[in-house]
Structures are given as C-alpha cells and as structure tokens.
Symmetry: C2
C-alpha cells in the first residue's frame, strides 16, 4: 500500500505543484516579505482520543502543530484560521467553548488573531483543520532543501518524550493520575511546544541551511530533509538528546528515532556557525553526507536506520 | 439548541474577532492590495453522499464553494490549499486521484495553484477542508455590511435549482439515469458554478454596496446581509428568478427561499447604477429597508419570511 508521502509526491509530480513539499508553502507577500502558510488536520481516534485529553489542551495542540510548521520555516506567525467539525454529542456540550479557550490562550501568547474558518457538523468524530500563516523576510524562509554535505545536523530540546507519553496513554495512564516523570511525558504528547522563537532566531542570523520540524519522528523527518536536499546523513546515536523522563519507561534509545510529535526543530548548519552562536538547548547529532537518500546511524557499529516514522497510511 | 450562527457570533464576541463574519477574512497584503481568505469544510454524509456524486465532481464542488466566497468579496482567486481526510476503504481506491483530477480542472480554469494542505486518515468518513485566498484592490472588498436603506437587492442567475437537485437525489434519482430537466437540477447540486467573473465585475465598477453568496439559502443569506448592515429587506416574491427546471417538480415558489447551495451572488446597489450597467443575468428582487433585522416578503399580501435556511445545527 502506498504511503501518504508517496501519494503527496505523486500528486505533486502529476500536477506540477512546485509550492508543495515544505513545512509551509512560501508565497510572495510584498517587495520585502514572503508569506508562509500551513494546514494540519487532527482527527479524533486517529490523532487524538477525547478521553486522553481535555478540550482546552486539544485547542492548544491544534494551534501548536501548525505554529511548529511556521517555526520550521524561521517565520513569525501572523494569523490563523480554524475549521472544526463536531458530532451532535459534542455540539451540545461546552467542548467547543473550552477548545477555543485553550486555542486562544496560545494564540494570544504568539499574538496570532483568528481571522476565520468554518464550523460544521460531522456524523461521528471530531475533525479539526488548523491553518496558520506567517511572514518572513523575502527569500529568507528556511527550506528543507538547503542542506549541504559536511553540514552538521542539530536538534532543539529533547526527543522521544511525546512518543513516551503516547505509550503511557495507550497503556491506560492518565495525566491527572500519574507521578511527575510520567506526567511530564504525557504533557509532551498532549501539550506540545512550537519552537517559534528558536526558528526565528535561526532565520534572523542565517544560521540554518535547511530545517524541518519533528512531527513524524527523527528518522522519518531526517529522511524528508535529506530527500529534499538530495543528500544523506550520519546520525550519532549516542549523543541524541533523549527526554530525561524516558528512563522511567525503558532504555531511551528505543524511542527517539521512532516517536513523532516532539515538535522540536531539526536543522543543518556549518558546524562553526552554531558553536560560535552559543544557542541554548541545541544538540549536534550528526552530519550531512553525500550518500544521497541514506541515513546511517553511528554508535558502536555502523548500521543503516530503517526508514520508519509515523505514517497515516 | 443554539445554531452554528449563534455559536460563531458568541465566539466572535467573546474573543473580539473583528475579522470573522464575512464570506472571507480581509487582510492587508501590500500597499495596493488586500488578501481575502476562506475555508469551507465538506463532510461525507452531511454535505455530500458518495453514492450521489463522482470523485471528480466532488473535487469540483470542494473548490467551487470556496471560489464562491472569493467571488462574494469581488476578489480574484490566487491560490488554494486542500486538506483531506479519508478512511482506509477510500485510500485503497483511485478516489483521491480522481478527486484531484476534478479539483484541478476547475483550478486551472481559474488559474489557482494548489500550494499545500494536508492528507490524513479518518476512522470512517471523508472530510475535506477547502481553503482559497484571493486578492482585491485595497479597501475594495465587498462586505456584507454596506447595504443602505433604499438600495435595490439583486441576485445573479437563478435560484432553487440546487435544492431541487438535492430533493431528487434524496428521492433516489441519479444524474446518469434521469431526463434533461432533472439532470440540470442535479448538476446544480453536484457541480455548482462560482460567480467569480460577476463578482470581479461588480467590484471593479464599484457597483455593489454589500454582497454575499447564496450558500445557506436566499432568506438565510439575506438575513446575514441585513444583520451585518443593520438594515431590513423587502423581497418581491413574484420576481424571484426560480430555476426554470423546478417546474418539473412542484411550484417553484416553494423552493427558492429555502434551498441553499445555489452559489449565486446576492448583492445590493442603488437601482440606477445597475440599470445603467446593463449586467446580464441579474434580477432585481427587492429593496433594503430601515426595518432592522426584518425580511418582509411582498406578493399579493405582505408577510414576514420565516428565518430559515440550511443550518448544520
């Protein structure tokens, strides 16, 4: 069965969609500014479960996943639209009010007005489409396609926490009824943080040659970046910054490559640029190679990373 | 139970959403141009039935409903995004390819590139979010709020056909198996036309004081326009341009006020401006009054139009 990535590539090739393929589409706005825009669909029982979260947290996450796409371009978010379809059982509760409450809290933090969208009925499940647009100085949007052999690979924050949180939720643990470490992991899954400030910082100082947010998982997103840049990568598995709370669950090394939804930024840059920039919470995890389309993982022994990560299909 | 319109008004008031409430949001683009943007959700078994249509026609309709919102602002469509969630039974067919094929045919006609969106899995039903942005000279977007007492009310094309087509589909008639008149009605439901050229024409000659597209039904959309403009309206029911094919079903007067999805343009203008502009396919159907929030229907006897039209809730 074809994956959603193959489908998108197929559609892109067939219809000559030159704009499709980065975290956001990039469009000219005026003589000094480009506009970037993204849409992310969240579907009940596929992307979230209503019994795992709260309406407020779902509102936060719906916006955060799109803000993360904006961050991955190095752009500043400017406005948002929200399309939401809900079944009748939800319409007759305060779910939507609380959802907008959560959404608005994060939107205010980033000064992003809600300018429109749609509200509809669905037969059974909640469906959300989160649309966010941002702005970036002309030609400065950080694409996936700019990585060069020899560039170092960096990641913000820590990885694997959201996947750990997901496993906990699937195992029956709930945010309100667990200890500190498990709570922290579940929070990474339910209330992700978009690295908007880090993305802007990297853009404004021209520090990144390519960037993507980690939504599908480190390996999968590194493959996306390598494909777009026509390069390969060597990951140093021993230095990957696993979420410190993962050790409560199992060896952390099991997590970071596979789990998605950390919404950290994965970017490439000549090594010297970053070391002199003294960025906080940035870890060098590997290097771009000429081995096109291949991601190697280096630790005790050299092996090839399986091409996995979260796929809807 | 509150309606979706009440909900949107409530959200708008609560969060001070000044941009929400027209067919499109209006945003500054550059010194000479405003950007307008709209999103429309289409949900399987709520907004369409897969056994009534074809994937290609559904692709056409998904784009047309949003183009109609752009038309209602008098704007020129510039780009689109498409978010689509499909269940596994659909993913494993050629549905999406044929859907994009239909979508692309209409998009090419209007020179609208697909710049992005999302593809996701759903548990059970197809869900589409159609996002289109357009451009209009600065300050020239035609809002719902500009109608003045004494303005005439006009409508493009004919009304009620899409509602008639819906009734036929609900009664078991299918496009490929009916005669000419029924086929024409079903086509109005399945393959609506967005009045993009008419909208642009009205904008470029400053002919309309207020405009909305007829998606919820003539009465409902006239109420939206009157609410936004803080005026009332008098409809002359005997001159409403019913779809000529409706007579095959029942007295046409039963249809036009209630049925939605005609995607014709409803606009207001000083009467003289329009008569001298010699627009084709435009009918004067009434007049704006000072009777705030009240739509009267005038025929043999004066009566008030019930405040109906399509609501999701």
């Amino acid at each position: 069965m074809r994956s959603e990535f193959e489908f998108i590539r197929n559609i892109k090739d067939k219809y000559g969609l030159r704009h499709v393929g980065d975290d956001c589409a990039v469009l000219p706005k005026d003589s000094k500014t480009d506009c970037v825009v993204t849409a992310d669909m969240l579907v009940e029982d596929i992307d979230f479960r209503i019994e795992w979260t709260t309406p407020q947290l779902l509102g936060v996450k719906a916006l955060a996943v799109s803000l993360s796409d904006i961050a991955a371009m190095g752009a500043t978010p400017k406005w948002a639209m929200l399309t939401i379809g809900v079944p009748e059982r939800i319409w007759n509760t305060d779910f939507l009010d609380k959802f907008y409450e959560g959404w608005t809290t994060l939107a205010k933090h980033h000064d992003v007005p809600l300018i429109g969208g749609d509200v509809s009925r669905t037969p059974d499940k909640i469906v959300i489409d989160s649309i966010v647009a941002g702005e970036v100085p002309k030609g400065k949007a950080i694409l996936r396609s700019g990585a060069k052999p020899g560039d170092s690979i960096f990641v913000t924050g820590s990885l694997g926490g959201a996947a750990g949180g997901l496993i906990l939720l699937e195992s029956g643990f709930r945010y309100s009824k667990v200890g500190k470490r498990r709570k922290a992991l579940i929070a990474r899954q339910l209330r992700p943080t978009a690295r908007v400030e880090a993305g802007k910082h990297l853009m404004s100082r021209s520090l990144a040659t390519a960037m993507i947010d980690i939504s599908d998982g480190l390996r999968a997103d590194l493959y996306h970046l390598c494909d777009a840049s026509a390069v390969g990568a060597r990951l140093e598995s021993t230095v990957i910054p696993y979420d410190e709370n993962l050790s409560a669950l199992m060896p952390a090394s099991e997590w970071a490559g596979l789990g998605g939804e950390d919404f950290e930024l994965l970017f490439t840059s000549p090594r010297k640029k970053i070391s002199s920039a003294k960025l906080p919470l940035i870890t060098r995890i590997g290097e771009i190679t000429t081995n096109v389309g291949v991601v190697e993982v280096v630790a005790e022994n050299l092996r090839r990373a399986p091409r996995t990560g979260y796929r809807h299909f």
